[in-house]
């Protein structure tokens, strides 16, 4: 059986597509070069933001007709909830304000259940997020945290995600 070499990540993408927080929860590399750089994560998160936005244009016609009758706002409600690849899965939570939380973890046999678990944990992290970002009058909107607070937030996130 293949050893579980998939790393776990937690990412927060702000409503304009920039990277607001990134944490690598499990680190296991073959070589030092395999380590993912902050640059790569920056690029990946802006790609994700752009594509997530683009998916609202490819909704099938039959579904579009049903939802438009109800006067649905696709921009607010459409989001990539779950992305599966061969080795890992990405669970996302999109808030009403356009903020996106991503948890990248390995796949279990029961994907829907693990996705639900991840989403519940992300909702708890969202409450923590408001403590660190929104309620702080000195924290500017959409900007990443300062060093000291980032370490604290990182510790709290690790505790919530059982790391």
């Amino acid at each position: 059986m293949k050893k579980d070499r998939q790393n776990y990540y937690f990412i927060v993408v702000n409503k304009t597509g920039g990277l607001q927080f990134f944490s690598q929860l499990k680190e296991q590399y073959r070589e030092e070069q395999d380590k993912i750089t902050t640059n790569q994560v920056l690029q990946a998160s802006s790609i994700f933001y752009a594509i997530d936005h683009l998916t609202q244009t490819i909704i099938p016609e039959a579904i579009q007709k049903i939802e438009q009758e109800k006067d649905k706002d696709f921009e607010r409600d459409n989001a990539i909830d779950l992305l599966i690849t061969e080795n890992y899965m990405v669970s996302t939570l999109k808030t009403l304000t356009g903020l996106r939380f991503l948890v990248i973890s390995n796949k279990n046999l029961e994907v829907p259940k693990k996705h639900e678990d991840n989403v519940q944990k992300m909702r708890q992290i969202y409450r923590l997020y408001t403590d660190y970002f929104s309620k702080d009058p000195f924290q500017s909107d959409d900007q990443p945290l300062g060093e000291k607070k980032r370490v604290q937030f990182d510790r709290d996130v690790r505790e919530l995600l059982d790391f």
Binding site: I36, I47, F48, I63, N78, L83, T85, Y88
Partner: protein
Amino acid sequence: MLNTKYLDQENLFELIIFQGYKNLVFYWNFAKGIVNKKTEIQDLLKQNRIQNIYGVSEGLKGFSQAFSSEPITNFKYFLTNYFKFTIYEMCSGVKIILLSNISDQTDYSETLKEVYTNYLEIIKRNPFYVHGEPLDNPLFIEKIVEIFEPFQKKK
């Protein structure tokens, strides 16, 4: 997960096959019919929707490869509130994409792999097929219809 949302709708919406860079070779709208004549395909390509489908698959490819510990060609599928997007991509640049209903729990990765093996046998290994041309081989179409027959709802 909201898997009881569109139960009264069809299971499958669209099957799309790309070859190379933005080259559409096969399009099957399960409600309307198959499009594989050259003029109709060119008309389809001008629509933004098909371009966006290609763009989504290429964009998420970059995203998926960044976080993978092993090399992969592309992701398998993703789910939104409204539909499910399954893709089977090979290193040669062939992308086979299926848009389906979120209430449908089947994993279509295996069926798309079957579509690919038929594509290889009937299209690619045919010495008379020119790369880039639409797929209008009647045997291929028959096989594809046969593959997706059991997944469509019977009326």
